[in-house]
Amino acid sequence: MRTRAARMELLQRAGMLLVFALLALACSLFVPSFASSDNLEALLLSVSTVGFVACTMLFCLASGNFDLSVGSIVACAGVVGAVVMRDTGSTALGVLAALAVGLTAGLVNGWVVAFARINPLITTLATMQIVRGAAYIANDGKSVAIGAPGFDALGSERLLGFPLPVWMCAFAMVAFGFVLARTTFGRSTLAIGGNLEAARLAGIRVERIQLAIFGLQGLVCAFTGLVLASRMTSGQPMSSQGLELEVISACVLGGVSLSGGVGSMLAVVAGVLILGTVQNAMSLLNVDSFWQYVARGSILLAAVLFDRWRTRA
């Protein structure tokens, strides 16, 4: 009986991964050239951007918060990194500058949400615009080409047949998944999302943990921005528009609750993969881009409805 319960639980948790597996199977059967190694590589590469940011977005959502500023931070970090590299000729300085931008933006978010107790939706809606503005201001709205030595390796180096960003994303998912499930920090995150007041009274440093989560989010976004800039060999202020919605969609698709308190990396991985696969298949099938919007939204809606039905049954 115990094993049956355990099996049910596993099925519950792997449910969305199963959906992904079926989807991938269907795509490789019915979508021409989906299963080609070139396409799979492109798929994983495109998924890695959302995947990176989703790692920390998971923490944000699990703690009952929300972050709309991620897309702007990704773009801004890329531009600032590129500008510094151009002006100083130093790759290291550029990387540091980009990470500093991300960390600062994240900490500002965290401070306002945790200490000034402003609603995270409003806070990050504001910083989303501020940081996007900063990205344009950094180089007058023009994109910045990057010629710094060695920087292009970040996005294009290969390891065991896959591009480096794919490996890094996989690593980040494993690492953050471990942190959420197996460390006091992770458990405190879930506790805060589940009941903030109870968490405080249980001795959890609620504000510090929220600050840390947003700070981490900023850092990861900045890193993602660097990887993206390296892949495009330029920093582009208008890039990653709408990334925040893609990331949050992916998390929710996998089964992370928007009201906080629950979430697992498995869910995020599933959500990211499903969304990426659908996107990829639609491009291969030459689906009109207007219709792609409709399809993505419908899938999100269907997924949450399915989830509601599954948890109720």
Partner: protein
Amino acid sequence: MPPTELHLRFQGVSKAFGAVRALEDVTFGVRAGSVHALLGENGAGKSTLLKVLSGAHVPSHGALVLGGAQRSFASPAEAFAAGIAVIYQELQLVPEMTVAENVFLGHMPARFGLIDRAELHRQARTLLERVAPEIEPARRVASLSLGERQMVEIAKALSRGARVIAFDEPTSSLSARETDRLFTVIRALRDDGCCVLYVTHRLDEVFALCDAATVLRDGRHVKSHASLAGVSRDEIVRAMVGRELTDVYAWSARPRGALVLEVEGLAGPGLAAPITLAVARGEIVGVFGLVGAGRTELLRVLFGAARRTAGRVRVAGRELDVRSPRDAIAAGVALCPEDRRKEGIFPLLSVLENLNVSARHVHARSCGVLDGRWERENARAQTERLAIKAASPAQPIATLSGGNQQKVVFGRWLAGTLEVLLLDEPTRGVDVGARSEIYAILYELARRGVGVLLVSSDLPEVLGVSDRVLVMRRGALSGELARAEATQERVLELALPRAAEGAGR
């Protein structure tokens, strides 16, 4: 309606949640025009039975018989329409709406979809006349006291013409006066011919209010008394816990050590005058006061959950400068908060998570990596020690019965190093059997040198377990009584506002 007619009957009602059998073949009847007590240990299935009644749960087997006709409700709306209202402990009101709007929630008087405010207020006032005439229909519910909200909830039931009204532990957070008030209203409902089902853990109330009683144990029907005349308290307790339990408190004298908590001139929000007190190792100090006397505020300031504006606190001889609960915990101070649902539990997390939440950072390995083996072991030990009724450590705490949730919140502190234990209504909603277990654990902790400060609205409990009683009134200490001199009268005399009439008894 003849008063002896069996108005409501549970006929072989069973309800299972997965492997948990919350109710099994429960059969008994409730007379119209009577108040029927529903008793049993934590997790016995009382709340589940009420949820079956209200249509919130569909029974796996069995049915309800209402006025002779077999009924089954698929939703609370259907039960409501059939004249059944269940008033849960967590009241189902919308705080930001007015009293009148709450009373008529879902069926407001309207013309062409426009709410007729005047009519709404007039009708609400008529209903409130019967339960609490002083409540203004236009007031926001958020501004009402808990007792007043309960009255609004009753008016809401009456607005639907309810003939069966069930209460789930309605008095657990009411003051004595509000409780009296509620009893008056319930008696009036009974005299009107309503069927009243009344769930409580306070046996005094059973004898004061109820006409009949039914005891459940482990989801099964144990016994029904059609009349409580000649039924003794011990008899009911025995039916509830399944064994003899004569002295719930079982207090005995304990050796006392050095002072472990010294408070001097403490001030903070909700405290009208500086507080000075001391607790020795091995001592259990009870703090009594009416609702609003500042007891909870005192504990919160001590624990760093509210801001201390003046005063000194020493724990085990060391100056304690708390800025947050975490500092207090690090010094060995623990608090069981008053409002379980708001401040105590993490509803989505498991029993294991909830038990370990405070102690785990001490036991985690380097870099905060959790020690899974310790967590499982600790959860098992505390579950056993407190006899927590859970299907498995992985069960979400929200699906535990109320009393068992309370035990988990208490059990959270038993794993760490403890110097001072602050308890705020620790046995609210806990059954007699489990209460005596909790007291035994308190005594054991005290013997090991812990100082205990126990806030409770349950006066017999304060008198029963305390070595010394402090009394608070209007945010200040109003007196101190040794165990030998602490009687109900003397404590109440110190607790009641002096100016009030009839309070000087």
